[in-house]
């Protein structure tokens, strides 16, 4: 195999460098206590161990088994036509590195992916070898996220899934047409088939677990995927509707969005000096949050007339401004679902309001003490039937201006983006955000 003789520093550098464009760094979704004779445990909310200079959470040792690849996906840094240094970890190098990082509490576990070496099946066998070594010889009980290789036999997917906590198949491109153009070796079917298979196995396994207490767990933390944003002309509506379908049909735990960073010069791709569309990615994450925690449907947020998000206004504010007839709502009476739809009120604030309502009527001063941010919410609520003191109700147009993230557009939003989307976040949100990495 290529790469022998390169020392472990070089291998780690090459194989983490080529893995970094995968945005998921989640260590969440499963609670598992430690075991006698083993090292490690897993925490459902996930744990971030550090944050890189780009502000992204580092939770797992994110590396490729190898960056050798027989495929030639145009958007990918590891495509076969790219002239780059190639190498591979041996299963024992990888296990040794993981356990030693884990003991020092650098990481929550391993995120293993791979270029396709020789064939999908051969690649999967290498990954299974490494994970078996980790689990059975090193008795590693920490978190493992593994990416399955499209095109591998389902028997191999099953074996890999019994060793991992989370599995993912990256869709990357949100439509069949885009796939055909940019990833000629992949088809919609070759991606969706393993996804469907994993989803089916998870459900089958959960009923096994009820029947047999000691049945081994198949990807207990569920599956996730990644979509690249901005490499193709696909609209936000197309992307969000796809995500909604994935959450519903395939019961995915997370869909990650990755602003396309040009890694190749190609006529079919945006030019290499294109800036990654970070604000658009941010809006998609906000909308994704609205689908999962705020009870919104994709078609409430976007439609044929407006297929893309307004970059100035976050998706929830945008919805509220277009539905002013439903406001203002009374803080002391509104149901939870409606509180969640107020710009500026998130899951934590809504829960606190419900709690505080049990003991007394809430006024604006009370809201502030509870930590509810009124900057946006003030325009959409009343307390004890009154609007906030001295509040001038602005016209619809001014309202829109007041709600927009002007600063983000004026001062180069890339610097301004924080990991916290505009809807205030719950502790659950925050911990998910920290670990699931927005």
């Amino acid at each position: 195999m290529e790469g022998i003789g390169i020392d472990i520093y070089d291998k780690l550098m090459i194989l983490s460098d080529s893995a970094k464009y995968d945005v998921a760094c989640t260590s969440s979704g499963v609670d598992r206590r430690g075991k006698q004779g083993s090292i490690g445990s897993a925490a459902k909310a996930g744990i971030c161990h550090s944050f890189a200079a780009d502000g992204r959470c580092i939770s797992l040792l994110k590396v490729l088994m190898t960056n050798i690849c027989i495929y030639d996906c145009k958007y990918c840094i590891n495509r076969t036509s790219n002239d780059t240094k190639r190498t591979a970890f041996t299963p024992s190098e990888l296990a040794e590195l993981t356990v030693n990082f884990y003991r020092r509490n650098y990481i929550e576990g391993l995120f293993l992916s791979s270029g396709v070496i020789k064939s999908p099946n051969y690649t999967m066998e290498q990954m299974i070898k490494a994970l078996t070594l980790l689990r059975e010889v090193y008795h590693f009980n920490g978190y493992i996220h593994v990416k399955t290789i499209p095109g591998a036999d389902s028997e191999l997917v099953t074996r890999l899934g019994l060793l991992a906590d989370r599995m993912s198949v990256n869709i990357e491109l949100p439509s069949q047409e885009s796939l055909k153009l940019l990833a000629p070796n992949k088809t919609k079917d070759s991606i969706l088939r393993p996804m469907g298979f994993i989803s089916h196995k998870i459900q089958e396994n959960s009923s096994d677990l009820v029947k047999f207490r000691h049945a081994s767990k198949f990807v207990p933390a569920g599956q996730s995927t990644q979509l690249i944003v901005g490499a193709t002309p696909d609209t936000d509506q197309k992307i969000l509707t796809l995500s909604e379908g994935l959450y519903q049909k395939y019961r995915l735990k997370r869909v990650f969005y990755s602003a396309y960073i040009p890694v190749a010069e190609h006529t079919l791709l945006p030019s290499v000096d294109t800036k990654p569309p970070l604000l658009r990615e941010h809006r998609l994450y906000q909308a994704d949050w609205l689908l999962r925690f705020y009870g919104f449907k994709a078609n409430e947020l976007l439609d044929e007339q407006t297929p893309n998000f307004n970059l100035q206004v976050d998706p929830k504010c945008n919805w509220a401004i277009n539905h002013l007839e439903q406001f203002p709502i009374e803080i002391n009476k509104a149901p939870y679902e409606m509180l969640l739809r107020v710009p500026g009120i998130g899951v934590t604030s809504a829960m606190r309001i419900l709690t505080a309502r049990k003991s007394s009527l809430i006024d604006f001063a009370g809201l502030k003490k509870m930590g509810v941010v009124l900057k946006r919410a003030q325009f959409f609520i009343t307390c004890k039937g009154k609007v906030m003191n001295q509040l001038k109700i602005p016209s619809d147009i001014t309202l829109k201006t007041l709600m927009s993230d002007q600063h983000k557009l004026l001062t180069g939003f890339a610097e301004q983006l924080s990991l916290f989307p505009d809807p205030p976040m719950t502790r659950e949100d925050v911990s998910q955000c920290l670990t699931e990495q927005r």
């Binding site: 472990i8 520093y9 780690l12 550098m13 983490s16 970094k20 206590r33 430690g34 006698q36 083993s38 090292i39 490690g40 445990s41 925490a43 744990i47 161990h49 550090s50 944050f51 890189a52 200079a53 780009d54 502000g55 992204r56 959470c57 580092i58 939770s59 040792l61 994110k62 590195l97 030693n100 990082f101 003991r103 020092r104 509490n105 650098y106 960073i261 800036k275 990654p276 606190r352 709690t355 505080a356 003991s359 007394s360 809430i362 006024d363 001063a365 009370g366 809201l367 003490k369 509870m370 930590g371 890339a414 610097e415 983006l417 924080s418 990991l419 916290f420 502790r427 925050v430 920290l434």
Partner: protein, 273 residues
Amino acid sequence: MFDRAEIVYEYDGSFEGLMCCVFESFALKEIPSAIRTPSDQQSLFDTAKWIETDIIKSDRVYKSIAAKISVQAQELVTLGFWTNSPQKELLIYYFLRLGYKHGSKVMSMLTDDTVSTLQKAVHHLTSESHKFKGFVRFSVYDKVMVAVIEPKNFVLPLIADHFCDRFRNESFMIYDKTHKMALVYQGQEAKLIDIDELTLPEVDKSEVEYRRLWKQFYQTIAIEERYNPKCRMTLMPKRYWGQLTELGKDEELYNVSEKQQNLSKQAIRSFEP
């Protein structure tokens, strides 16, 4: 019915001691205007009343919290004592007065100043302890692992179970430099002990190698086109950096004790107003 003169209680700094202050106040029907420990700064004019710690009294108060208020209130008070909130004693005391008056309802009185201040302080404690589950960095010395942390709140009791469970076959120590306490886990048994000063020996070659590898991984994994130091600072404020292997200087990877001394000096300087 209450004495109007300024009353100051002084206690031994233990949770049980604080419970005895509560006992005293209710027994004598007096409201202290301050509750402090002998090490707290004293004003020139007050004379403090020493409250002796008595396990029987403290136990009575502690049990009464669950009985007369709620189990949640009992937990909030326990956690409140580990926060770094200024005058946490008085805050807990006022919270208990409210609780005895209103019963379990006190937990939903989020618009009350005392309740919201205590809740915020506890939230600060729990979120800091969650961060430290990730930010603790062990150095491996042969069979023993040692980490040093400098938290604002007293987080060791909150992270103890996590680390003892995860590394149940290891022997380790997490030293809290701020509170001069250490969590020591050895032979399946965990203890919290007082340690005034900790000097660590030099680390061996393989420890240095893994620190270098980790630091290199940390640097490689960031995407240049997404460089966002402000976001990193929000999620991982600078006060944590002193003990993070990946953010130390290269030469500091070799000797941990020297690194800690230098960095804590730096940290103190950068946090002075």
